[in-house]
Symmetry: C2
Subunit: 372 residues, 2 copies
């Protein structure tokens, strides 16, 4: 048996988005929200992967400058130098490269797990088993991803094509399979064909590699990017002034490319571990409601909310702790989402939640951008 | 032409009720709310009748002890002694009697107009013309009421039966007609028959009489009550300690009877002036919405509210002036009422608004009576 590798996690926590307005804001994006009650999704993500990574000192968090403070505020156990704060948004490849270059300086054979920060996973033990299998695959020198066994013909996700079908139900073997190719979001008909074939898995944006292998891949497919992140990591200790100066000078000019397009699609040999652990990207109020704790009438709401002949509603109270106590009452309504923050109140039927973007547009147009 | 009578107004402002919760509360009933934007209904009422009454010194306001402070706060121009604060709720006859006894001490031939405090009137000039006609009728020694020409077979109001039909459209003559009888709230079939006959008007709870005539009527039909209110008025100057002591000793023991049952139904000769001036008792969110200023899509809301594909909604923001600025956004909803106060938020379809009473019940049951 090979020696256990050092394992790092890189959690991508730079996401923005307005789908959850007014809960989510420019400075309080989805990963910083306790969308399912409890802790912010980012905190849940760290907690979930911590036993597989080698502790908090090996957890890296990539985010943007405007999110540095609120991100650090929810992750007090993570050393400050582990926050990889991008001076400008450059898509995923540059920050993954930066993390890989940092880890490669310490140990090129250490495995890095790249993970989204704002998803939900029901079966945490099952997820950790798949993570462990992916780490083991990566430790053997193969860039590895996780593919989620699809449950429906989703048109909102990218897919990973395999050579052969996996079983459509029951436990999945965690042995790595070869990736035939990555597929962009399909239309409905193709998504249905994908589902029927059994040869397609959802791409959940999770990647595993030895730091040295990623640096090799970057040098092969993104040489400018590879040179840039190597120079940043070489400039000084993590978190040092020297590193920050190099970062500011170099990072904003790196090619803004995703790891999928910039590396994975060109890479010869990729492995995927199929998984089925109750994954959700929590992409909408619909999925947030489906996963939330609900009363027998389907209402998800803070304690004390009063429902009279009301069903399948979701009430989210994100007002600050100092806000006055307030009772919320819903009478004779169904399938509504009611969100309140200190400065906004939204009422929308769950199936119309995607139209909340029009509210954000209007606020910007009328000069209320601070509310977005 | 007879000399112009002294005219007093007695505005009945003791009403409670939970139909407009959380806007209305035990200490902030409907008449104290700006239900249609602008000023509280009570303030609108005073403004509407002031030119017919002889100025603010001749406006009396009847209310309960728990409402004395908020009522005085919105009526700073009314002399404090004009607030007739009932020590205990005893229905309408005792406080109308108290007002009549007070005015009779000054001038038994002065006319008292008894008016509700929480209704709305579209055609204020038309209303004042009817008031003036009713005052003139009362000044001739006939207890007079106003009857509203009905617009639909309403089952929520009492009716006044006439001897002959009034015209069903167009201007109405303001000559007094004889009242045949008062009729309790009818069922639907009777209400339809009333409407078809043209001989029934809505009883809007407005009464006009000379103070001395009302005292005579009370002595005839409610002698105990007449003696009590006479003793209260004789005890001391309006607003004096002596008056208050007599009030506290006598008023709570007066018969708790309405002026309709206690006097009007027994009185031989009553006149009614028919009127049609856009009257509404504002009995529900439905009527509040109908009368509110609305945008072209039928939404009634404070400035700055954002509506996306939303129609015929009503948003009421009664948070205190010091509350933080807040944007309210409705997306893809119709016919909803959204009410927010400092301590409560309600969402209810307008046609379900009567079920808000169940919220009030639950709050009381769970020990949150201060929210009701």
């Amino acid at each position: 048996m090979p020696p256990l590798p050092l394992v790092y996690a890189l959690i991508l926590a730079g996401g923005a988005g307005t789908r959850f307005w007014p809960a989510s804001r420019a400075r309080r994006p989805k990963q910083l929200l306790p969308l399912l009650g409890g802790d912010p999704l980012l905190v849940e993500t760290v907690r979930r992967i911590l036993p597989v990574a080698g502790g908090a000192s090996r957890v890296l968090i990539a985010s943007g400058r405007h999110l540095a403070e609120p991100t650090a505020a929810v992750l007090r156990d993570i050393p400050p130098e582990n926050l990889l704060i991008e001076p400008a948004p450059r898509n995923t490849a540059p920050c993954i490269g930066w993390a890989a270059a940092r880890v490669a300086r310490i140990d090129p054979s250490a495995v890095v797990m790249v993970l989204p920060s704002d998803h939900h996973i029901l079966d945490v033990d099952g997820f950790r088993a798949v993570l462990t299998a992916a780490v083991a695959s990566a430790a053997r020198g193969v860039i590895t991803t996780i593919g989620i066994r699809p449950t429906h013909p989703e048109t909102g996700y990218g897919y990973i094509e395999l050579d052969a079908a996996v079983s459509s139900a029951g436990p999945l073997d965690t042995a790595p399979l070869a990736v035939r190719r990555f597929v962009e979001k399909p239309d409905r008909a193709r998504a249905e064909a994908f589902l029927a074939s059994g040869r397609y898995l959802w791409n959940a944006g999770m990647f595993f590699f030895r730091a040295g292998d990623m640096m090799d891949a970057l040098r092969a497919h993104q040489p400018e990017l590879a040179a840039g992140v190597t120079a940043i990591a070489a400039a000084g200790e993590p978190g040092s002034e020297a590193e920050r100066e190099a970062l500011d000078a170099i990072f904003p000019r790196l090619p803004a490319v995703s790891i999928d397009h910039g590396v994975m699609e060109h890479h010869g040999s990729l492995a995927v571990i199929p998984g089925d652990f109750g994954w959700s990207d929590l992409g909408s109020w619909q999925s947030a409601w489906e996963l939330a704790a609900k009363d027998p009438l389907g209402n998800a709401a803070p304690d004390g909310t009063i429902f009279v002949d009301s069903h399948r509603n979701q009430v989210v109270d994100l007002r600050s702790a100092g806000a006055p106590k307030r009772v919320i009452a819903l009478v004779g309504v169904e399938d509504l989402v009611v969100v309140e923050t200190d400065d906004a109140l939204l009422v929308v039927p769950r199936h119309r939640a995607q139209d909340v973007k029009h509210v954000v547009d209007r606020l910007k147009t009328r000069g209320d951008g601070e509310l977005t």
